[in-house]
């Protein structure tokens, strides 16, 4: 059955090639530390993957070539099509989906491993699986299944297939806890009855983990998606590492751990950027504050409203302008129009920078990609810590589609739900222009004091149209 069968599984040659592969992964990610080398780094990692795949295809015992070709064919076709068609605004969905299929693959492999262990290579013979393989197999199955279903829910929310607002059932935490305990108990049962473990119990574990994945992600609001996506990324990575333990494959262990580290770092960074713990994001249903209910009772507070022409004048005669983009910019597809405004201003000698809050967008670094797509040079993309000290020296700060991340209440009001959240300190700038459809609150469901400050002007319009109007007005000046 084996066509090639050149390499001994677990032998020195195969292991050496796997070591080459994972070294290339690490080198590749390392090159990703700078925009100019990252593209080459991605190539290096891809070469590493080619080495790993070819090595595996050369192993003794690889067979069923028709199925391999089928799987590779389908996967490649889907992967190529998706990567060409996807819009940059849809990247969070795509990454969520990729997290999901990755976790799903791990769960399926674990299932197959367990069946194989039960039936033995020659059917009928019952072989018990050593505990050091059984435990990672079960771990991979559970975490893989959770991340498959959790990611699908995250995808559906980001794609607006289901409401982005938190959905929860009564007694949610209790149900989750019961499911988790049940899963652990079933795992113990399989381990104890090792040698003749029940298939049905294993399938029940997969289903319970699937349900858990759904229940954990459903109650999480849209604004918390950056944390959720990162966390699911970490989960899929760890499940791959576990599969590596089960299959005794170093390439899987190292690559999975690398992905796990990356997901963990990003999860912590995102949670820090919102001044919340990961547990709070997962279990508190923060985005669930009834925005409409409480927000509606606030009386109309005085604010200054301006048109595109006034905004153009303020901007054109400034020395330095900072643009603060938020997810609303992505929704309105306004990144190109904003770039036009920046171009017009630069023609007049105005310094333009962009202040990027860590959670601007729906995933880590999302806003940077959207602006890069609009040809904004990455040197102009400033991180929050970098731009805040510059704010007092900034003539005009323009806020496009961002809200909570600019709310001074996070700094000034200890009772605010977002108290302590790091913000872009736009109120320090000489003047502030907020481009927004209305005074409605953001995801946190609270009023933004910034809108009512004396140096703030509101421009009520769609972000894309407003930016195009401003660019035209500046040209006419």
């Amino acid at each position: 059955m084996s066509l090639l069968a050149v390499l001994e599984p677990g032998g020195s040659a195969a292991t050496a090639l796997y070591i080459v592969a994972f070294s290339l992964f690490i080198l590749g990610v390392r090159q990703g530390t700078h925009p100019t080398t990252a593209k080459r780094g991605n190539m290096i990692a891809a070469v590493g993957m080619a080495v790993a795949v070819i090595t595996t295809l050369l192993l003794d015992g690889i067979g069923n070539w028709g199925l391999i070709a089928l799987g590779l064919g389908i996967g490649t076709a889907v992967g190529v099509t998706a990567s060409i068609r996807v819009q940059m605004t849809e990247m969070p969905q795509m990454v969520a989906l990729y997290n999901g299929v990755g976790g799903g693959a791990v769960a399926l492999i674990a299932w197959s491993e367990l069946r194989h262990g039960i039936s033995g290579i020659d059917a009928g013979e019952i072989a018990s699986i050593p505990l050091e393989e059984l435990i990672p197999t079960l771990f991979a199955a559970v975490v893989g299944s959770v991340s498959f279903w959790g990611s699908n829910i995250a995808f559906a929310k980001l794609q607006d297939l289901i409401p982005t607002k938190p959905l929860s059932v009564p007694g949610q935490q209790v149900i989750n806890a019961v499911l988790l305990i049940g899963i652990l108990a079933a795992c113990v049962d399989i381990a104890v009855n090792n040698g003749d473990p029940s298939q049905a119990i294993f399938i029940a574990i997969l289903l319970a983990a699937a349900l858990l994945g759904n229940l954990v992600v459903l109650p999480i609001g849209g604004a918390d998606m950056p944390v959720v996506i990162s966390l699911l990324n970490a989960f899929t990575g760890l499940s791959a590492a576990a599969a590596g333990f089960a299959l005794h494959n170093v390439a899987l262990i190292v690559a999975g751990t690398l992905v796990g580290s990356s997901g963990t770092i990003l999860t912590m960074e995102m949670a820090t950027a919102m001044n919340r713990s990961v547990a709070n994001v997962l279990f508190a249903g923060f985005g669930g504050a009834p925005a409409g209910g409480t927000g509606g009772t606030t009386e109309e507070r005085p604010h200054v409203s301006i048109g595109a022409q006034d905004a153009a004048i303020k901007l054109a005669y400034a020395d330095s302008v900072v643009i603060v983009p938020g997810y609303g910019l992505a929704v309105a597809q306004a990144q190109h129009a904003i770039k036009e405004v920046a171009d017009e201003l630069e023609k007049r000698g105005v310094t333009v920078n962009y202040a990027i809050h860590p959670v601007a967008g729906r995933m880590p670094g999302h806003m940077n990609v959207l602006l890069a797509e609009a040809d904004v040079p990455y040197e102009q993309l400033k991180e929050m810590e970098e731009i805040n000290p510059e704010m007092p020296r900034t003539d005009v700060a323009v806020i496009v589609g961002a809200n909570d991340v600019t709310n001074p209440a996070a700094k000034n009001d200890p009772d605010s739900p977002i108290a302590g959240m790091p913000i872009i300190e736009v109120s320090e700038a000489q003047q502030v222009i907020v481009i927004k459809r209305s005074l409605s609150p953001g995801f946190a469901g609270i009023d933004n004091d910034l809108f009512y400050e004396p140096n703030t002007s509101m421009l009520f319009d769609d972000a894309k149209k407003a930016a195009a109007d401003i660019a035209a007005e500046i040209q006419n000046l």
């Binding site: 690889i62 391999i68 799987g71 996967g75 899929t236 751990t257």
Partner: protein, 106 residues
Amino acid sequence: MSVMTEVTIFVLAAFVGFEVISKVPTTLHTPLMSQTNAIHGIVMLGGLIVVGYANDPLEYVIGTIAIAFGAINIVGGFMVTDRMLGMFSKKPKPKADAADGKGGGK
């Protein structure tokens, strides 16, 4: 390979991972995530192995889907990362390029 050797590899890989990835700037976090998606496609190796000893229809189906999922990760992940990084490396200042060229003499 003994379990403890594998655990050693795991722990060292975790330290390397934290060290390397904490140096990736925020600007590149989205491409980093799609690239780690691609690297995660390494699980396809598991699919290739298990399909090799699959011996009933259910295992054929499971193995083939696992391979397809892994291939989506690998192909889609690396390609979309390449596409995104292309946007970052684009030089939107043709003037600067022209000035660098030797042809710019008086």
